[in-house]
């Protein structure tokens, strides 16, 4: 077990290095030192000031030396501050994780729960008209861009009906009213895909021999489905859903930026729109880190849930 863990962690290191190298290269190529300086100093700054900035920030060094510094900084989690806001990235992330989770965690759980309910129901009534209708419905829901859900939600539910504030964020219980709409949109936007996938997983499970055996023993269908199929199907679902955990921490780009939630997704959108290089690089690095961590976690959960799989 421990051996396996160590090996997985060691395997993650070259991947992380690859990620850093690739993104660093991409961004340093796009963002010439001059762009970075303009971003940092503003459009009306003088050329002399920009040159000075470039020198002070080591942007005139050869690329490999910049890369070395960059890797060292990331390795020690010593991120460069944003060129636009000057905020240290560590602080920005810590401040952003909370709001991001406030939206994504309930949205994720609600979406998961809804998808489970729908897919189980479909398995109950499989191959019937209701099943087909729900499948069609799911495919239809998948075919609408997330942005349309958001625009519709803001224009109709928030402005037209006046149920919720249209945008904003507060911590504490008072902030619930801001969260209801984005959470619902997040759950609904992902529902079609999840429900369809869950249904496929459950249907595969139901074709297994043990289900037939259980039924032959005379167990009622609800019990077979509710206990055995659900339990075994969940193993497969773990793989599929744990992979989404890093997304929760990184927030959902569009929802956060439309609803004015000061989470990490919002940081990313702003970073992209203002070509704020340190922000985007840090986001990429942390995103990859979370992703790899989730991958390892998935393997362990998988092994824990299914005794047939051994980690070696």
């Amino acid at each position: 077990m421990l051996n396996y863990l160590i090996r997985r962690l060691l395997y993650a290191v070259p991947i992380l290095l690859g990620v850093i190298f690739l993104t660093f290269l991409l961004f340093r190529v796009v963002n010439t030192p001059e762009h970075a300086a303009i971003n940092a100093l503003g459009p009306k700054s003088s050329v002399a000031a920009r040159e000075e900035w470039i020198e002070n920030n080591g942007r005139n060094l050869p690329l490999y030396r910049q890369l070395a510094t960059h890797v060292k900084q990331l390795g020690t989690f010593d991120f460069q501050p944003s060129t636009v806001t000057k905020r240290p990235m560590g602080e920005t992330f810590l401040a952003g994780v909370g709001p991001s989770l406030c939206v994504t965690l309930p949205g994720f759980i609600l979406g998961l729960w809804l998808a489970l309910v729908f897919s189980l129901y479909q398995v109950f009534v499989r191959h019937s008209a209701a099943d087909r209708t729900i499948t069609l419905f799911c495919v239809a829901m998948m075919s609408v861009p997330t942005m349309v859900y958001i625009i519709f939600g803001q224009a109709v539910v928030a402005l037209g009906l006046g149920w919720f504030p249209v945008s904003g964020f507060h911590s504490g219980l008072d902030g619930v009213r801001f969260l209801v709409l984005p959470v619902c949109i997040m759950a609904i936007a992902g529902l079609g895909y999840d429900a369809r996938m869950f249904r496929a997983v459950f249907l595969e499970e139901i074709a297994q021999d043990y289900v037939r055996t259980a039924h032959a023993k005379g167990l009622p269908a609800t019990r077979v489905l509710g206990r055995h199929v659900l339990k075994n199907g969940l193993i497969a679902l773990i793989t599929l859903t744990v992979g989404q955990l890093p997304k929760l921490i990184m927030g959902t780009l569009l929802i956060e930026s439309f609803f004015g939630i000061p989470g990490i997704g919002n940081v990313m959108v702003l970073g992209i729109q203002t070509s704020d290089e340190p922000v985007v690089l840090a986001c990429v690095f942390l995103g990859s880190l979370f992703y790899l961590a989730a991958l390892i976690l998935t393997d362990f959960l998988y092994a824990a849930a299914d005794p047939r799989i051994r980690l070696s």
Partner: protein
């Protein structure tokens, strides 16, 4: 000259790509698996309808793609001939509007009434025509992207699955690295490097998009490699190239096809997000993503400008939905047990 270079750079490539896909499909279709799938697919009503809808979009896209010279060095697409000369307005106009707004007050339209089926956009262009023209943009992006990521994904997948060992390790390393970068950030950074344009979008989407297909093909190739026919072929001393092209490729082609159809819909949806992030289509190109993006502020106008957003969403929805349904039907046809 302009016309020829335009052809060479865009349309010819597209035609070549489509031709290549068609040849591969016909070759693969000779196998028994494919003909059985085709028989099953013919019985699937949803799939047939979806296929027809996709063909309709293809047709409209093709109309807009083929351009003919109209003298004076200008070109017009076939679509321009079909929709005729719909005049531009000064700015927004509602569907079927029969009044025009001059400086301060509304007056009856002197020409003829209700000439814009779906109204006009901010620059006064007919939304219906723009929606149709955007078909080409979506198809070009989808087509180019597929032309990039499908060969990449299929090739790497087969190589990794067939040769295993260090080839597999290397390919796995490359795609784990790509997969662990948040997709949208990778896309945006590649687009910043390449600059804007339909080609750049396709390259960016293609470079990031092959990972899923590669994984799938790698798994399938590994399963196939253990089958007796591959072992036999090896024992007979057939070259690797022969085994890959004659035996492995035809046996994974159906996965490629399904992935192509479903992937296409994903690409069309991603384009909409890219437009929001400001790295979408070039200026002046009709695109659903751009239309949806501008719809975001149009909804807060009064009277609400809903037609732009609605038209783009509906058109996009139609294409993506039928692609998804088609993909599902194909999967069912190839693998009736798991469908």
């Amino acid at each position: 000259m302009d016309y020829l270079s335009h052809w060479l750079t865009q349309d010819l490539l597209l035609v070549l790509g489509l031709g290549g896909v068609a040849t591969m499909l016909t070759r693969a279709a000779r196998s028994e698996r494919w003909s059985r799938a085709w028989t099953r697919f013919r019985g699937d009503r949803t799939g047939i309808i979806a296929l027809c809808v996709v063909c309709l979009y293809l047709f409209i896209g093709a109309l807009e793609t083929f351009r003919v010279p109209v003298g004076g060095g200008d070109t017009k697409s076939l679509l321009d001939f079909v929709v005729g000369n719909i005049p531009d307005e000064r700015s927004y106009s509602a569907p079927f509007a029969n009044q025009v707004l001059t400086d301060t007050k509304a007056q009856p339209d002197p020409l003829n009434s209700s000439r814009h089926l779906l109204g006009t956009n901010q620059l006064g262009k007919d939304v219906f025509v723009q929606t149709l023209k955007a078909c080409r943009t979506a198809l070009i992006i989808g087509g180019f992207t597929s032309a990039i990521y499908i060969p990449l994904g299929a090739l790497f997948g087969i190589l990794a699955g067939y040769f295993r060992r260090w080839v597999d390790d290397l390919i796995q390393y490359v795609y784990s690295t790509l997969a662990s970068i948040p997709e949208i950030l990778l896309l945006v950074s590649i687009l910043f490097v390449l600059g804007q344009g339909l080609g750049s979008i396709s390259i960016a989407l293609g470079v990031t998009g092959w990972v899923g297909l590669c994984r799938l093909i790698r798994g399938e190739t590994m399963r196939q490699s253990e089958r007796s026919y591959i072992t036999a072929a090896r024992a007979l001393g057939q070259s690797h190239w022969n085994i890959i092209t004659r035996h492995l490729l035809p046996n994974v082609m159906h996965l490629v096809l399904i992935n192509f159809v479903l992937g296409f819909s994903g690409i069309v949806l991603t384009e909409a997000i890219l437009s929001y992030l400001g790295v979408g289509c070039p200026v002046g190109t009709a695109s659903w993503g751009v239309m949806i993006d501008s719809g975001r502020s149009e909804l807060s106008r009064d009277p609400v400008v809903w037609w732009n957003l609605t038209a783009a969403t509906t058109a996009l929805f139609g294409l993506v939905l039928s692609l998804n349904l088609l993909g599902d039907s194909l999967r069912k046809a190839f693998d009736p047990k798991r469908g």
